[in-house]
Symmetry: C2
Subunit: 327 residues, 2 copies
Amino acid sequence: MHEIDVVGIGNAIVDVLCQADDRFLDRHGLTKGAMMLVDAEQAGRLYAAMPPGVEISGGSAANTMAGIASIGGSGAFIGKVRDDQLGEVFAHDIRSIGISFMTPPALEGPPTGRCLIMVTPDGQRTMNTLLGAANDLTPDDVNPAVIGAAKVTYLEGYLWDPPAAKAAFRKALEIAHGAGRKVALTLSDSFCVDRHRDEFRALVDQVDIVFANEAEILSLYQVGTFDEALHAVRRAVTLAVLTRSEQGSVILDGDDVHVIGAERGVTVIDTTGAGDLYAAGFLSGLTRGRPLAECGRMGAIAAAEAISHMGARPQADLAALVAEKLG
Amino acid sequence: MHEIDVVGIGNAIVDVLCQADDRFLDRHGLTKGAMMLVDAEQAGRLYAAMPPGVEISGGSAANTMAGIASIGGSGAFIGKVRDDQLGEVFAHDIRSIGISFMTPPALEGPPTGRCLIMVTPDGQRTMNTLLGAANDLTPDDVNPAVIGAAKVTYLEGYLWDPPAAKAAFRKALEIAHGAGRKVALTLSDSFCVDRHRDEFRALVDQVDIVFANEAEILSLYQVGTFDEALHAVRRAVTLAVLTRSEQGSVILDGDDVHVIGAERGVTVIDTTGAGDLYAAGFLSGLTRGRPLAECGRMGAIAAAEAISHMGARPQADLAALVAEKLG
């Protein structure tokens, strides 16, 4: 198998995005900005109450792979859909941008996972995920040849929610390291970190690169300030990439610290996918051997595009955007 | 049953929108701006070649009903989906805006209809429709109580493509007229007019209001100039509403002619739904007893909103927009 830049492993999800106001969140007991897991009954009730939606392929690591493809990189995605209409939509959308997606769909069990997303007028997104078929990802779905071929294996923290996926996650980590490849992990969500804190701390010690936002890294180490979190994560992992929304990002490379500004003049429409696309830009730079500060800039440029429209996946040609901005 | 403003009868369709260039249209033999019917095999081939899509509920008359709801009107929709995921999406989206949708889904047969739409950089949309379950609309689906309760029964010309729907169409027309209600028809598409010209001419003689764009009305009467078309349609129908894209619209009310300008300063992103939303604005005014020139302005305002974003259905609050523009 030819070498590829990145293989992403994550929950295969179709997003159902709508515009809703803060009262809608209050009425349904939703925490703004968070990702909450819902069961089929809760999802049905929430969907019935939701305004009209737009269906767009999502999933955190899958969004990152879409960003990497848009910047011109190569990659594969591993995740579980069912053999249903939303599963076809997911598979079409990721394959159509040149990302290899060979995980066989589940032929029985729950339907393809979906995420009901409310976008409030402030551009914040609040996510309610019905994992569905994504629950059925198993170690058998992790193809060693694909992991071995990828410069970076990228794992989303959300995978820690479906129990069987943990084993798939660990298998991928072992194969990648056995092949001398790098493994990156994103912490995904501060509530996800709350649910799995001890295991996440152990994981961070094992991977090579960690992506987290401020709330996630504070939660991971249960500290009150960003400086304390920096101190803790530096001891745990070689390369930590910490995003801080409009305050930009901080890259910790051993003792070296790079502080990267956020893109300016961006009108925030929908923050869905901001972190996913930052990771796409960063990993695109890294797999091309670019300096870390430039990787961070690429992340910031990709994230800025993602938040300028509804939906997580890029709508503009990110390769052109990066070339224009970085000169 | 309470009186409602409008009942729309049409193909229940979920749109799959993507951005594509003119070369894509050429390569696949697509005629820019037209609606082409495709079979399952053609749809599969085209979908496999398409860039990533966004799924948004569509269907011409259904889009019009969404516009009417957004302007604050009341209504119902009659059309056929299957009991599948896209059918649930369609039903959710139209019900969630307050439009009554009681047509039972098909429990067997082809899946919910979909329309593969390529939006080119000039904002034009090119549509490829797999009718699917929409083919199975029958006269039994036309609820006489709903038709009798609606001030206007609105029929889309596209319904002439699925053979069984013609009888449903005719049944609705008879019930509406029997109840002393008005019937409106949109010609939908110039190629659709080509396919059904003789029947469409006979229909225009029977309905009370006709909506058409310039290409459709020229095709209906096989004339070369807009003036000849005006002359022909005036003899056939009491009220004709002719849209001319950026040249605005012309309303023929017997011997009275109202010429309405298009909205200015609109950045065209995607023309999908422009005609559907014009009809929504116009019928909203008409069912409120507004002067025809004002109805035309409401149509122009709704159409301008539709073309300013991807997807046919309104994203802004059209009631607020109309109030702001008309003062």
